[in-house]
């Protein structure tokens, strides 16, 4: 009896906190969606709901039917191409690296792991200006390659971390099986190791994809020209004009947010576990 009442007051308190949390979390998202369905006539009449919702902003965006979204499909495909390349290259580099880090007890391991942690921790913006200079020297400004290289560099450490952590939990019979079959180290990697690390490999590929998809600074520095920039850079450029069509901008924002939201919820578990296990086991 007493216990039940205790639990009920607890639940009431929790629901109050939960309501505050939800209002705080969801309101900006709700407002973004609300604005994306607002007709231009109602844009300057603020409110908590919209009287005459419209999908026109999405139609304009999809049809590139406004000077602000003239290159929408170019820009979203630029984002996509960069993100896919980052995903593939990070997965390849981290798969190779994690095999060495987790399964081979070689001499420079501590050096590699220190360098990896350093790259993970150093804020990428600190390197942005010299990186820009380098790319200018090599005449790579305005190429997707420049952005992909930056994304691969900064997404690799975490990917290596997660994969190595997983690879260490694989049984030692892996190498023994390879040795019995007379397979060399590379064949062991390719035919025995790679199939086993598929689940975390998919997760870190997703991580790299999202990292590149969300990137703003490096894309801003390295790309110029409406048809060549990525979607977030184009959205940031909206802000430089005084008469930005905010309802249209929010429709673009919503479209831009859909892939990451879907991927985050599908791969949520993988995306946090690496950092947690790294931090917890490190103590």
């Amino acid at each position: 009896m007493n216990r039940a009442r205790h639990s009920r007051t607890l639940q009431i308190w929790l629901s109050v906190v939960a309501l505050v949390m939800l209002a705080w979390t969801l309101f900006p998202v709700y407002y973004m969606l609300l604005l994306s369905f607002t007709p231009t006539n109602d844009l300057f009449r603020p409110g908590l709901y919209v009287d005459h919702p419209t999908v026109r902003n999405y139609v304009y965006t999809m049809g590139q039917d406004n000077p602000f979204v003239r290159y929408f499909w170019h820009q979203i495909s630029n984002s996509l191409v960069i993100a896919v390349w980052a995903m593939v290259v990070v997965a390849a580099i981290a798969a190779l690296g994690s095999f060495a880090m987790a399964r081979i007890n070689f001499r420079f391991r501590r050096f590699v792991s220190g360098l990896t942690l350093f790259t993970y921790v150093i804020p990428s913006s600190f390197l942005s200006i010299p990186f820009f200079r380098m790319m200018a020297d090599y005449d790579l400004i305005d190429t997707k390659l420049a952005v992909v290289l930056a994304m691969v560099t900064f997404a690799s450490p975490y990917a290596l971390w997660v994969l190595s952590d997983y690879a260490r939990s694989l049984p030692p019979e892996l190498e023994e099986a390879g040795a019995i079959d007379g397979a060399g180290t590379f064949a062991t990697f390719l035919y025995l190791y790679l199939p086993l690390i598929r689940p975390p490999l998919i997760a870190i590929g997703t991580y790299a994809f999202l990292y590149a998809w969300n990137e703003y600074l490096y894309a801003l520095l390295l790309l110029t020209g409406e048809p060549r920039i990525t979607l977030p850079v184009a959205m940031g450029n909206f802000l430089t004009t005084d008469n930005a069509p905010w309802n249209l901008l929010m429709a673009v924002s919503t479209v831009y947010s859909i892939p990451p939201v879907v991927l985050y919820y599908v791969f949520k578990r993988y995306l946090v576990s690496g950092l947690v296990s790294g931090a917890v086991s490190g103590t």
Partner: protein
């Protein structure tokens, strides 16, 4: 035989990590040295420290890194306790609470900016509905800097809450059972069981979050762009302004170089605690 094995291990280890090492050498070590090279310019530092905007920027960065990050982590630690309750609806709450983490920063910032718009934003609309004077949120120093900090908390609170939640779940239940036998209250549980066991995790998260935030460009740049009147810059946005608006590459590099000792200190501490 043994020597050959060791040598072949070293060769293989090197081969498998070669792409990674090449990447770090070319795009971390080299740009870093290039940056330090550019930043070795006494005139640049003299110019920076006599620039009132730079001094203001250092103060802003300290606010951002010192206050926003720590407030966020304290909240994350407390909220992770809420998400740890075993009620079924809490799972739904946790899932919804993660949305800001999943949405890229940019759409969120845009939404905040329109909400804070002094003429047509929802905040000023609600203020006038209640008969209060409207506030020029992004056009005055404290509220503009506050908006940057509040957005930072909105966007990154869920991530760190999940990290602490995982930390809490790793604490063996027996400890709480023992505390319950001793008649410990909820607050005592927190201070004598939960917090001591999460302390290391909390410290590492604080360090990591501080370093990440120290270099943040996207949030301050898109929220205020330094406005009003270049008063709300942080290091990264000021370096961008020096380099690309004013064409002073060495000033931009020197701006980052000022933060480098602190960053390297953080990294040294992390290297001691975290292993890959």
């Amino acid at each position: 035989m043994r020597g050959r094995l060791l040598r072949s291990r070293t060769v293989h280890g090197f081969l498998f990590t070669a792409p990674l090492l090449a990447l770090f050498a070319a795009f971390v070590i080299y740009p870093m040295s290039l940056g330090v090279w550019y930043a070795l310019d006494a005139d640049a530092y003299r110019a920076l420290f006599s620039d009132p905007i730079f001094r203001q920027t250092v103060v802003n960065t300290l606010w951002y890194v010192g206050v926003a990050v720590n407030l966020k982590l304290v909240l994350a630690l407390l909220l992770s306790g809420i998400l740890d309750y075993p009620f079924r609806w809490i799972r739904l709450l946790a899932a919804l609470f993660l949305i800001p983490w999943a949405i890229p920063a940019l759409p969120g910032i845009l939404s905040f900016r329109w909400m804070l718009n002094s003429q047509w934003g929802i905040f000023n609309y609600l203020l006038t509905v209640f008969g209060l004077p409207s506030v020029p949120w992004l056009a005055q120093y404290w509220t503009a800097l506050g908006a940057v900090m509040v957005f930072h908390i909105w966007k990154y609170l869920p991530f760190w809450t999940i990290i602490f939640l995982a930390g809490r779940r790793a604490i063996p239940n027996e400890l709480y059972e023992a505390a319950a036998i001793d008649g410990a209250s909820g607050v005592q549980n927190f201070w004598h069981v939960t917090f001591p066991l999460l302390r290391n995790l909390y410290l590492i998260c604080t360090l990591l979050s501080m370093v990440f935030t120290l270099g943040d460009f996207t949030v301050p740049w898109l929220m205020t762009g330094g406005a009003p009147g270049d008063s709300t810059h942080v290091l990264a946005t000021l370096a961008y302004r020096y380099t690309f608006t004013m064409g002073r590459l060495e000033w931009g590099m020197a701006t980052f170089a000022v933060a480098l000792p602190a960053t390297l200190g953080f990294i040294a501490m992390l290297l001691r605690w975290v292993k890959i």
